[in-house]
């Protein structure tokens, strides 16, 4: 039990915070219902993929500053390919764009491994490269998305055996998110490759000496990051129906959520669940601030303060909870 708390306590605490926020939301706006929850799920979608992309590399001991730019590039690519094309063509566009994310992500990894330049610089350089490429694909926001894709995040999923009122709380966007993340993450987490990703983040030298192919694992981690970023880019195109070459605010948000979600920035620790819950928390805070009609200039202060306070609180309980005899 104590080990569960040590390993999963943070995630459990975040989840409790999320529930608490839902209660607060309901108190602020008694009419808050399933439709609003669906809106939340849709708002979460691009952030969640950005955070997933960041989480994988952070666990592997790196950081990816090109997440948002990658999303912009994949988004404009998808949007411009689908512009004026048939609905069926989108069936080809989606895997193409995902593959593109995978390859570009792997390119990040290859550059880090080959040039031996620190990841922060490589991904910063790639941020500019990808942004530039996005501008070459689409000079201004535009393009289109297939109708069936747009529909894939609107509405709810009827689950057989569930009453209608419960179905209403299962928005398609949420299901899409869970499916996309699980398809990649669950088999990975259990595999030797997944362990290798944790291993190189935890202690690269020890990993190498344990026979982990460090370079290959790092490339795979960045490739997965690219894949998740491409999912994020697609989700942007799907929800807005266009592609925009200027990256949205997903980079810093992803780093913040990763840390809030209990993934150590040094690598090796944490999982995907925590950061995803953290995204929900951050989005719901945003909703509450809007519902409360807080002065918009104050919302920045509140969002910053919450971020700092939660992480400080986390640090505080780890200091307090340290067993006697441990030295800091």
């Amino acid at each position: 039990m104590s080990r569960f708390l040590r390993n999963q306590g943070w995630v459990a605490g975040l989840f409790a915070l999320l529930i608490f926020l839902f209660v607060v939301t309901k108190l602020i706006q008694p009419g808050y219902g399933s439709g609003d929850f669906g809106s939340l799920a849709r708002a979460v979608l691009p952030y969640a993929f950005a955070v997933a992309a960041q989480t994988v590399v952070v666990i592997a001991g790196g950081i990816d500053l090109s997440v948002a730019a990658m999303m912009a590039l994949t988004s404009v690519t998808a949007a411009s390919m689908m512009d004026g094309a048939s609905e069926e063509y989108a069936l080809f566009v989606v895997p193409f764009v995902l593959a593109m994310g995978l390859v570009l992500g792997a390119l990040n990894g290859v550059l880090i491994v080959v040039t031996r330049v620190p990841d922060i610089v490589v991904t910063l350089a790639m941020l500019f490269v990808l942004q530039g490429a996005a501008l070459l694909v689409l000079g201004a926001p535009g393009g289109a998305a297939a109708e069936w894709l747009k529909a894939s995040v609107i509405g709810t999923v009827p689950i057989p055996g569930l009453p209608d009122w419960a179905d209403a709380w299962v928005p398609k966007a949420l299901v899409l998110l869970v499916v996309c993340l699980c398809i990649v993450w669950i088999p990975l987490r259990r595999s030797r490759l997944g362990l290798s990703i944790y291993a190189i983040g935890s202690n690269e030298l020890a990993a190498f000496r344990s026979g982990v192919p460090v370079a290959r694992t790092r490339i795979v981690a960045y490739a997965l990051s690219g894949l998740f970023a491409a999912m994020g880019g697609l989700s942007l195109t799907i929800s807005t129906g266009i592609g925009a070459p200027i990256p949205g605010p997903y980079l810093l948000a992803s780093v913040a959520a990763v840390v809030l979600g209990g993934v150590a920035l040094g690598g090796g620790k944490g999982g995907l669940l925590g950061p995803i819950i953290a995204v929900f928390v951050l989005r719901l805070v945003r909703t509450d601030l809007t519902l409360l009609a807080i002065d918009p200039n104050v919302t920045a202060i509140i969002e910053g303060a919450i971020m700092v306070a939660v992480v400080m609180f986390g640090a505080f309980i780890t200091i307090r909870g340290r067993p006697v005899g441990a030295t800091s």
């Binding site: 706006q29 809106s39 807005t240 925009a244 605010p249 809007t290």
Partner: protein
């Protein structure tokens, strides 16, 4: 005292023009006496983030939403949902593709066309122009580009010496103009997308030959047009007070007074200092008490009813 709750969504924070727009919205809401509460979502984000804000405003059950769109097409779905929920939607500053929305907008294409045409005339219809655009990939920037290109087509002897993107950032623009001046390339005119006063500063500091400069009606630049020796230039109005007009339009619709068309365009004006009447006009509008980034056209006749004190106080109902 008012009865309506109005939601506002804006996606650029910390830029003088947008801040003035928000203040105009607040002032107009207060001056109208019809608004009980403003619900403002004002942050730096993209179209997807604006969709989130719009949906949150729908959850908050506002009566009308005034939105400065991050992208004309990108927030269609959210606006449609708002209309379905019985909410009046007004887009300001830029158009939106959602047909149910009302639009009151500055005409960005015309903005660029007007300024560029004046500039090319000043240049005598020929020569090299430095084209300092806004942010690459922004829709307002590409609209303005259309206007600029239209004017350019009318003056076949005018050439673009250099095209740069300032990102609508003062420091970037200044570094770019200084770099450009250092190349020694002769130019005959400068068109800017509203990052203007740093350009004039740079010309003065470097003692470069003064060439005609086109900018926006920002307080700083308008001041320079009347005070900097040898500067010939024009300010094209791009009122941030369009936000106040948006609130007025929303209230009219809520009160059952629907406008004749869905779209109302506010046509820009051009204030130049090459002629005497132009100078007189500039004298009348110059306002050194305003922050240099704020457009001086703080009100729009027929559309806004607040006083200067009200917009400068930047307080909405209930504050």
């Amino acid at each position: 005292a008012g009865k309506y709750t109005i939601g506002i969504s804006n996606t650029v924070q910390g830029n003088g023009w947008r801040e003035e727009m928000i203040c105009a919205m607040k002032a107009q809401a207060l001056a109208s006496g019809e608004v009980a509460k403003l619900n403002i979502a004002h942050r730096n984000t993209d179209a997807a983030g604006q969709l989130e804000d719009i949906r949150n405003l729908i959850s908050a059950k506002v009566d009308a939403i005034v939105v400065n769109p991050a992208d004309p097409a990108g927030i269609k779905a959210g606006l449609e949902e708002a209309t379905k929920a019985g909410i009046v939607v007004v887009a300001v500053d830029q158009a939106v593709t959602e047909p149910s929305a009302y639009i009151i907008s500055n005409n960005q294409e015309q903005y660029a066309y007007l300024g560029a045409k004046w500039l090319f005339q000043q240049m005598g219809g020929k020569g090299e122009v430095l084209y300092m655009r806004g942010a690459a990939g922004a829709s307002a920037d590409s609209d303005r580009d259309k206007g600029f290109k239209k004017a350019l087509a009318e003056f076949p002897d005018v050439k673009v010496a250099q095209e740069v993107f300032t990102g609508w950032q003062q420091d970037q623009a200044k570094q770019q103009i200084l770099s450009f001046l250092a190349t020694g390339t002769p130019i005959n005119g400068i068109w800017t997308s509203g990052i203007d006063n740093v350009i004039v500063d740079a010309l003065v500091e470097q003692q470069a030959p003064m060439v005609p400069v086109v900018g926006a009606d920002n307080a700083g630049f308008v001041g320079q047009l009347s005070s900097v020796k040898g500067l010939v230039g024009a300010a094209v109005t791009n009122p941030g007070s369009i936000g106040g007009a948006g609130v007025t339009l929303a209230l009219q619709i809520l009160d059952g007074k629907k406008p004749a068309q869905q779209t109302v365009l506010v046509e820009p004006q051009l204030w130049e200092n090459a002629t005497d009447e132009g100078k007189a006009k500039l004298k009348s509008v110059v306002d050194p008490s305003l922050s240099p980034e704020w457009p001086v056209s703080i009100s729009i006749p027929d559309w806004t009813t607040y006083t200067k004190e009200q917009i400068v106080a930047c307080k909405g109902p209930g504050e």
